[in-house]
């Protein structure tokens, strides 16, 4: 008896501590998710929904060219944006850690401002840069390089990738920067001291030790960008059409909640497998390290 009492008390305490987050996830994620899952197995009939189990929605998703294409398009756009964001962030984080320590706080503040700054405002800023009467076209026209404004800048995959990269760069930068902050400078110097030149230090020490941050940043950006709905709606056009927009349309215009749900679940599973692949990759890289 004596022995069980403290255990049950700590259990109760643990339950109490976990309650808010559990409740939150339950109400706002698990339950709606479960409802959607149910919908995905039901069937639209006219303007009502028939509550009979069917796999037809999933079959439609997996056999319709459009759905496969937009899902792939989402992945391509997400991967490109994540890759670009990492490519931009890595040298910046490297520079802030090793060369520009004096400007560190100023630059971090600017990056933070860009995170909290309006999401829509930045999208419209890009629209006005890339648009028919946008900044780029104005410059090109003024310089006499083109006779008519270029129309292919906006409403395509390229515009979506550029905008998404800009929107989510901070989410790639912060984990990479944090990895650089955790990098012990003595370790870098020890490598120099033991005979490694600058390039060898980079690929044997700096890169492997900051790689977890790179992967984390890549994953954040990839997930945010792949599932973004606003950018593709406002500037996607045809080639920039993403699955999130198609899903939203199923719930809105088409009023086909079952198909929308099935599309959403296929997409979630695709993303989850991409995520697991990256996690596996990072484990593998960590274990191998940068040794001989």
């Amino acid at each position: 008896m004596n022995r069980t009492r403290p255990t049950s008390r700590t259990d109760a305490k643990l339950l109490f501590q976990l309650a808010p987050s559990t409740l939150y996830l339950l109400v706002f994620f698990a339950i709606p998710g479960f409802v959607l899952l149910l919908y995905s197995f039901w069937q639209k009939k006219g303007f009502s929904i028939e509550r009979v189990f069917t796999l037809k929605n999933y079959l439609t998703v997996l056999t319709t060219d459009l759905y496969i294409r937009v899902t792939l398009n989402s992945l391509i756009i997400g991967l490109s944006a994540a890759l670009l964001a990492v490519i931009i962030s890595y040298p910046l984080a490297y520079g802030l850690r090793f060369k520009l320590r004096r400007y560190q706080s100023t630059l971090l503040l600017l990056i933070f401002v860009s995170v909290v700054g309006s999401y829509l405002a930045r999208i419209y800023a890009w629209k006005s840069i890339l648009g028919q009467k946008g900044l780029i076209n104005q410059i090109l026209l003024y310089a006499g390089l083109v006779q008519e404004p270029l129309s292919f800048l906006l409403f395509n995959r390229f515009a979506v990738i550029i905008t998404l990269t800009n929107l989510f760069v901070p989410f790639a930068f912060l984990p990479i920067f944090s990895a650089f902050q955790n990098l012990n400078f003595d370790v870098v110097q020890a490598a120099r001291d033991l005979g490694a030149g600058p390039f060898q230090v980079f690929y044997r020490i700096t890169l492997p030790l900051t790689l977890p941050g790179v992967l984390a940043g890549f994953m954040y950006t990839f997930i945010f960008a792949t599932s973004d709905f606003v950018v593709t709606s406002l500037m996607g056009g045809v080639s920039g059409l993403m699955v999130s927009k198609v899903i939203a349309d199923q719930f809105g215009i088409a009023f086909n909640w079952p198909l929308g749900s099935a599309l959403a679940f296929v997409f979630i599973l695709t993303l989850a497998s991409g995520y697991l692949f990256l996690v596996g990759l990072s484990r593998w890289l960590n274990i191998r390290g940068a040794g001989a």
Partner: protein, 363 residues
Amino acid sequence: MEEFSVKIEAVTKRFVEIVAVQHFTLDVKRGEFISLLGPSGCGKTTLLRIIAGLETSDQGRIVIEGEDMTGQTPEKRPVNMVFQRYALFPHMNVFNNIAFSQVLKKRPRQEIQAKVSEMLALVDLDGYQNRNVNELSGGQSQRVALARSLINQPKVLLLDEPLGALDLLIRKQMQLELKRIQRHLNTTFIYVTHDQEEAMILSNRIVLMNKGEIVQVGKPEDLYRLPETVFAAHFIGETNLLEGNVTRINAKGMEVEVGGLRIKTRLHPKVKVGMQVWLSIRPEKIDLAADQPDDPPNRVNHRNDLPAIVKTRTFLGSSMNYEARLGNQRLMNLVTSAEAVSYQPRDKVRISWAKEDTVVLID
């Protein structure tokens, strides 16, 4: 072959507002274990980093084995460094940490394996090659760091307070290990520490530093017996410091007046009558005896013999520490054997020490 392993020639290093190393000149002999000793901020670590090439000097130059190192990058210098906080590569196991420099040199796999095994045996870590470095204790980590540097067969090993992060017991053990390894390999060791006891235990010579400059260089026993400045007397070992004026000088010694007391001292070449000086008397040089009023004072001409009152008594196992108040209110620390006759606080005693043990210092 050059006689000196490292020649430090008039090296000066300034950071934005402070001078870290000031016109520093020192020759280090081959196979010598030399310590740079001083309080934190005295420039000893900066100097070590300049030798390693991790820091550049503003003036002066470093010559290692006859070769001017000016402009040489760290990876090209025949020295290796052991860092205070180990600085092991966290993403590599023990083997890959130690093998690092040899992998860079593209040595054959078998040779590397043999060398790493030899190093592991040297630092007493046989069987640890596959361990993750995060699983090691502080002492083990520092052994790996040592092996990682020594495998490269540096001409000079630089050690930056390598035992500073370890607890006392491990530190004592590692001191003996370091000394054994240094004797075994006969590599030149330049060792930075702020711990005077550690410097005494390990070094052939100690370079005492303060504010970026050399205070005194010498064998540990010379630094202890004959400090040249108040700083040296104070920094190395315990001592009693008395301030006074020189009243008499003859061929055998001097007399210094300290707050009304006349104290006999050894000679100092630069001191003249009337000069203000400091006297340093080590606690273990002072004898303690019962006060016998019928005995005339100054019984022996070459000893100082003064009445005092015991203030405190501290038992330290092998020894007994006393604080005794001299007539002029000055406290003196002294050490006797724990087996000697023991006195109580407020006991009237006589304290005495040899003229030769009174070292005169000019500040």
